[in-house]
Symmetry: C2
Subunit: 200 residues, 2 copies
C-alpha cells in the first residue's frame, strides 16, 4: 500500500467501483468485504465502519451508478414521435439502453434477497422505478390523446407497466432484445392493447 491515503468521496468511488466489478465478474454470493478491500486497495475495517453488510454495500454501489450514468430519467426524455407508436418506440428503446447500463448482474442483486423481504430499501427502489415507468407512459398517452389517437389517457397501472415488466424479464433471463423483438412488443401487444382499450 502506498503512503498516500484516499479519503471521503474519492475513496468511496473506488470502493463502489470495486464492488460493481466483483458483482459483475463473480456475482453477489462472492461479494465479501475482504475481496472488496483487496480490489479497492483499502482495508476491511474501513468497510465495516461504513456499511453493515456486503449486501448494503452492493445496493449503495448500484444506486451510485444509477446516479452517475442514468442519462436522465426515463419520464423526462424529450419525446419527438408523431404518433403513439413512435413515442412508445422511443421510450422503450431508451429504457433498453438504460437497462444495458446496469446489466443483468445488478438486477439479480436486486432480486437476490427480495424473497426474505428484509430490505425496505429494495422495495423503495422498486416502487420508485415503477412510478417513473408509469409516468413515462402517462406522458405518451397524454400526447396520443392530444393528437386524437385515443380518447383518454386513463388506463390501469398494470397495463402501463407491462412493457417494462416484460423487458426486465428478458434482461433477467439474458434474452437479447433486438429490434424485431421490440417491434413485436409494440406492434403486436402494446398498440392493439392501448388502442383497443379506448374503444370500450
Amino acid at each position: 500500500m502506498t503512503k498516500t491515503r484516499r479519503r471521503g468521496a474519492e475513496l468511496e468511488a473506488a470502493i463502489y467501483q470495486a464492488t460493481r466489478d466483483i458483482l459483475k465478474s463473480d456475482g453477489l454470493s462472492q461479494l465479501t468485504f475482504s475481496t472488496v478491500a483487496d480490489v479497492a486497495g483499502t482495508s476491511k475495517p474501513v468497510l465495516y465502519r461504513r456499511w453493515d453488510s456486503p449486501f448494503s454495500l452492493a445496493l449503495a454501489a448500484i444506486q451510485d451508478q444509477i446516479k452517475r450514468e442514468n442519462h436522465g430519467r426515463l419520464d423526462e426524455v424529450v419525446l419527438t414521435g408523431t404518433s403513439l407508436r413512435e413515442d412508445l418506440f422511443q421510450t422503450l428503446q431508451r429504457f433498453i439502453i438504460s437497462m444495458d447500463t446496469f446489466g443483468q448482474t445488478f438486477v439479480s442483486t436486486w432480486l437476490g434477497d427480495l424473497d426474505t423481504n428484509k430490505s425496505n430499501q429494495i422495495q423503495d427502489m422498486i416502487t420508485d422505478a415503477k412510478k417513473i415507468d408509469i409516468h413515462a407512459i402517462d406522458r405518451i398517452l397524454q400526447r396520443a390523446t392530444d393528437r386524437g389517437e385515443i380518447k383518454t389517457p386513463e388506463m390501469s397501472a398494470d397495463m402501463k407497466l407491462m412493457p417494462f415488466d416484460w423487458l426486465r424479464y428478458q434482461m433477467f433471463m439474458n434474452e437479447p432484445i433486438n429490434n424485431e423483438k421490440l417491434t413485436m412488443l409494440v406492434d403486436d401487444f402494446l398498440m392493439p392493447a392501448y388502442l383497443r382499450h379506448q374503444t370500450l
Copy 2:
C-alpha cells in the same frame, strides 16, 4: 441421534425437505451444509459426499419438488375450453397454480447465480421450461385453428412465451396475480395479439 440410520431414498428425501425448508425460511445465502445437516438429522460428511456445494443441493432439492408436485406438465393438461380465450384462461390459471407451488424463494435461488452463467444445469432447466410453455400454447393455437378462430397456429416463440414471461416476472416481484390481472393479460394483450396476428 437414534441408533436407526436412514439410507438411500429415505435419507435423500429428508435432506431435500430440510433444504427446501431452509431456503423458504432463510433464503439461499443462509443455506449451509451445516444447517442442512442439523435440520435433516444427518451429518455433514454425508452431504459433502453427495453434493459438491450447497447450491448444487438447492437445485437438486428444487428439481425433486418439481418432480413430486408438478401436478403433471402444463402442456399435458386436458383442455376443456370452447374458445381460444377459454383455453388461454385454463392454461394460464394452471400455470399460476404451479408457480404458487414453488413460491418466490425457489425462483430467486434459480436466478441467484444466473448472471455468472456458471451453471449449465440452470440453463437447461430454463430451456426445458420454455419448451413446455411453447408446447402448451401450440396446443391451444392448434385447437383455435381447428375451430376456425384463427387461420394458422404459426407464431413466433416470443409471442407464445410472452404470457409466461410476464407472469413469472409478477411472481419474481411478489406481485399478486388476481383474476382481474389475468383477465387483463388475456383480454387486453393476448387475444388482440393472437387474433391480430392472423389477419396479416
